[in-house]
Symmetry: C2
Subunit: 324 residues, 2 copies
Amino acid sequence: VPALTIGLDMGGTKCAGVVLDEVAAVVDEHRAPTPAGTDAVLATLTTVAATLRDRAPGAVEAVGIGLPGLVSADGVLRFAPHLVDLFDVPVAAELTARLGCPVTVDNDATCATAAEWQLGAAAGARHAVLVTFGTGIGGGLVVDGALVRGGHGFAGEFGHMTVDPDGPPCVCGRRGCWEQYASGPALAESARARAGAGRLPGPLAAAGGDPGQLLGEHVTSAAAAGDADALRLVDEMARWIALGLANLTLALDPERFVLGGGVLEPPGVVVAPVARRLASALGRAGGHRPVPDVVAAALGARAGAIGAALLARAASVPPGESRR
Amino acid sequence: VPALTIGLDMGGTKCAGVVLDEVAAVVDEHRAPTPAGTDAVLATLTTVAATLRDRAPGAVEAVGIGLPGLVSADGVLRFAPHLVDLFDVPVAAELTARLGCPVTVDNDATCATAAEWQLGAAAGARHAVLVTFGTGIGGGLVVDGALVRGGHGFAGEFGHMTVDPDGPPCVCGRRGCWEQYASGPALAESARARAGAGRLPGPLAAAGGDPGQLLGEHVTSAAAAGDADALRLVDEMARWIALGLANLTLALDPERFVLGGGVLEPPGVVVAPVARRLASALGRAGGHRPVPDVVAAALGARAGAIGAALLARAASVPPGESRR
């Protein structure tokens, strides 16, 4: 019987689950919408995991979960500004009890970083930073060849770094957070304002003519097709992304940035202008130091779930054996 | 004969040198003003090191140098915005040739971090961030119990992280860098503007009545003595420092910040309001996560030179022996 691992990734809109086999290949998938409230979230996590386990072709050894917020080292979700009313939820303990097998819990972007580093676009890097652009910005770090969680498990919360102290208020209680300039909602808001002023006819038509229905993907799809107005808007977002990556370069000096998340689909549309802008965003230092590579994530929307499974598997390896 | 190590710290205004004995105690010191130009800087480093070596009570085993800029892993100073006309200077190779002993070169704040971590205010921390406030802002990192230099040796350049993209232009070529709001020159500039408007009478009197002569230390000294106008100005700077520390907390989740540099003298005046403000600078997350400790550096102005010597000593330990 092969040893299988389940990985779940609870995002702002959906809970995605995968089953990994011994060579880390995805052998099954299942997903459900993200509900509101602690009980409903715990029930959804349980159901998605149980569904995958019940139809798995072998014994499931461990379950890993990625959550969009501050997850402490003991598996408690402390704070998740993009989930409704979740504070201090002991997810690892609850799910371990409900599923009857070992459950590990990590930040979702930490999971995605583990996956991209082990199997994807950060493979081989000793210093890499993953940044995902979706409902918010998530992040993860590899420093000197090791995944970094920080002193309390909360490293990589790049999205709430202030890039403009006079900027708009954020759900996190701060102002001018990076994710307010580079995320799905941020791109949609810029697009709606511009479409309302008649300056985004292509994407507006794709959204059925109602500016209120415009989403970030209408803009990125139009940009991919060469729409000049959409390209301008994407380039503006790319400028903000490059500014944030320059800040992270100054702090961490990575060899490589791996960019993922739904906002970057199709990947080349946003990643290419960001890569172009990073050297100049570094100012004069950009001419005196290596500029980190900027590449698109390789594992797509499943990175978080795959990484959650990988981390669960690593945690379940008996001491003395390799746990990469 | 005891094994001695020399450490040099070239700052924007002076080159400070120390001699450390085997138990890392400072047994001698020497300093010289920082000159302009590559040749003069190399000559000053050589002279300060040679002076200390000539009068040392034993054999000098190695020399370590800290420099205020981007130092690559091969000991080349690539870029130093606060030194005049220094680019791509092979300091390690030049000084090794001139002094005839092993010379290691690191960023000055990396050196100070090594010293504070081994002997000072960061001792025992597995996740610590050092930030020094002087002519500019320097920084260093301890992550998972190891000193971090980054992929190319350039990690910890926190001072040039953008905190306001509409802010004033910086010597580094970017805009609104953190150090433009929290450094000696930044505090002096705010003080001059305020004194010119008659709103800083105490420090202005201490500066001889000429706003152009006002320095940051006039403000911090007056604040230490309870001057209400000076305290207000210091609190404004503390707010900017807390904003930057909150950004670094989000990215790195350290257990402890160690703050040093001349601008924080006397230390309690600035460090205390920064520590008070950090939780609220973290927004709502500040109530759901441990807030890092904020403490003053313990080794004072000699931290960089001491750390340079410690790093030189560690590099000269033969493979197989401990080099902590």
